[in-house]
């Protein structure tokens, strides 16, 4: 039963399995285990980012293409829901309309970008997506009567979602369902073709698979899931703005999460997002304490200043690309195998 749910792609390492179960239980029972607003907020962020990072892993880890436009799709989802809920009556219909319009926009955009630039080298795709995403971020802050500009949009949600616990379980349930669906996708014959493209696209093409089509489908699928993650995030925050969705910093965060957790493993998204979001929220406190303790020592207080937490995660990122290309999950699995 569990094996079916996980599409036959289990953790394959006891430690990893234990970690995943712990994360799952903690997230499933978050409102009851950790009272208070901040832990619940952290839990909801973890759910959203697990989904977002998993969809990015489909591109980076499974298909071997680097996109810098993933936050763009995340933002489209957020803005779709936000605009629908602020212009229409705050009901489920508006959410459905906003989300489906956002998914449609994302589909068209990702299809166009894919067709346009996936034929050529990975580097070209990365550059084009970087340019398009930065353009989109500027566009969102320029069209202020539509998107609220730099201030973003604050909106009302339907009656039921005003309870934080109900909203949390909507986020948790949807994220879990979509994550399992992604796991199903990468373990299907389609997913095998993506892996083949990652390993050797020339040979895959020679075997008779149209790599452009597979890459484009993967790109569209990842974009749609990212859009839905954006919609969930907006519903949780009851706010959408450039800083919560379109910022290039979030793109960097996604990269850090997927690489540290483990590329091409899906579970890496769970581990990476959990570690990262917790670090984001609690590491700064620890660094602040350390930085204050080190007062008087040259340079150390600046290096451990709470705002410099990204420095240490960046170092971890570079080291893991060199030494652990499959991240924490890959490390645990290879240990279990030996």
């Amino acid at each position: 039963m569990i094996s079916r749910l996980l599409s036959g792609d289990g953790p394959r390492s006891r430690i990893l399995a234990a970690m995943l179960v712990a994360i799952f239980v903690a997230l499933a029972l978050a409102p009851f285990l950790f009272p208070g607003m901040r832990p619940l907020d952290v839990a909801a962020r973890i759910c959203v980012f697990v989904l977002l990072v998993a969809s990015y892993d489909l591109l980076l880890g499974y298909t071997g293409i680097v996109s810098f436009a993933h936050t763009m799709f995340f933002g489209i989802g957020g803005y779709g829901v936000a605009i629908a809920l602020s212009k229409l009556e705050a009901g489920w219909g508006a959410i459905a309309l906003g989300a489906s319009a956002a998914v449609a926009v994302s589909l068209v955009l990702s299809f166009l970008i894919g067709l346009f630039s996936l034929r050529v080298k990975a580097i070209f795709f990365a550059m084009i997506t970087l340019a398009v995403a930065s353009f989109f971020a500027i566009l969102a802050s320029q069209l202020s009567n539509f998107t609220g500009g730099e201030d973003g949009i604050t909106f009302k949600v339907p009656e039921l979602l005003r309870s934080r616990i109900a909203a949390y379980y909507l986020v948790f349930g949807t994220a879990l369902g979509l994550f399992l669906a992604l796991l199903r996708a990468v373990n299907s014959p389609f997913g095998r073709v993506l892996l083949a493209i990652r390993e050797n696209d020339f040979r895959t093409e020679a075997l008779g698979y149209r790599t452009v089509i597979y890459r484009t489908i993967a790109n569209c699928l990842a974009a749609v899931v990212a859009t839905l993650a954006g919609a969930l995030y907006a519903l949780w925050l009851r706010y959408t703005g450039p800083n919560t969705t379109l910022d290039f910093g979030i793109m960097i965060d996604i990269l850090l999460m997927v690489v540290i957790g483990g590329m091409g493993t899906m579970y890496g998204a769970v581990i990476g997002a959990t570690i990262f979001v917790i670090a984001q929220n609690y590491l700064q406190d620890a660094m602040k304490a350390f930085s204050e303790a080190m007062k008087g020592v040259p340079l150390l207080p600046e290096l451990f200043h709470p705002d410099r937490w990204l420095l240490w995660l960046g170092v971890l990122f570079v080291l893991s690309v060199y030494y652990f290309p499959f991240g924490i999950v890959g490390q645990l699995r290879s240990k279990a195998r030996s």
Partner: protein, 326 residues
Amino acid sequence: MTPRADWIPPALLFAIALAGFALIRSPSTWVTLTVAGLAMGLLIFIMSSGLTLVFGLMDVMNFAHGLFIAVGAYVAASVMKFLSPSVDSESFLVNLGALAPAMLAAAAVAGLLGLFFERVIIRPVYGQHLKQILITTGGMIVAEQLIHVLWGPDLLPLPRPLTLRGSFLVGDMAIEKFRLVAVVLGLAIFAVMLILLNRTKIGLLIRAGVENKEMVEAMGYRVRRLFVAVFVAGSALAGLGGALWGMYQESVTVAIGANMMVLIFIVIIIGGLGSVGGCFIGALLVGLIANYVGYLSPKIALGSNILLMVIVLLWRPQGLYPMNKP
């Protein structure tokens, strides 16, 4: 490679300048905007030429190139602050005494950083595009944070030397002095590069290496060393460009590198990856169009570069001057 020179892209440049004249209709405004566009374009060219050559030579794309720009600008800001009496002097020569060390220091520090970066970050991931993109992005994250540690997170002022502030007035045309300096410097650097690439043995080897690396290696030359040299020179130029760009904006933040990266990518995609001539034309196109459109309809100015890139790619999918790789 076509045996004959391809004159359509330069002609396009003139066509756009003429179209700008037709649409703007006021000669003085047009001159101001054109000088601004050329200055911007040439600065972008200085910053991006190294990146496109490095890609042509070794198939390496450095996503942290913006880092050298930011470092150059910060170093220049520090030097200018240190020499602030000369910066505020009335005499042009004394000003030059601050400007020249600032620019040289910016180029030197960025070049050294490039040497380090090539060794530590890029060398282990040759030929692996995916890892290159990831690792250089990671290097960029770390370096940006280190800039915050060294220079603090706030915006740093980067004043222009006193005699280069303000504008020349020719009739009713106002031309900012600093832009003129940028145009002169940019053209000088382009000329030096052209001579170096077309009239010297090193240039010959670089061009041959871009065309066919294995063949040059088979002749007994070490393309690797050449590549390191080009990488360092490109980083130094990026640092120099960053210093000038910082003065152009009169302030420096760490975002200067990442913001320029987007423009630089657009420019080298338009030009054709690996082509210096294409990069030159692309940079001027981007600079001119950004200024014209910014004047004519500020609303769509920000999208004009992307639009330009899409149109160019629809016309020539490999960029203005495609490099035919064997």
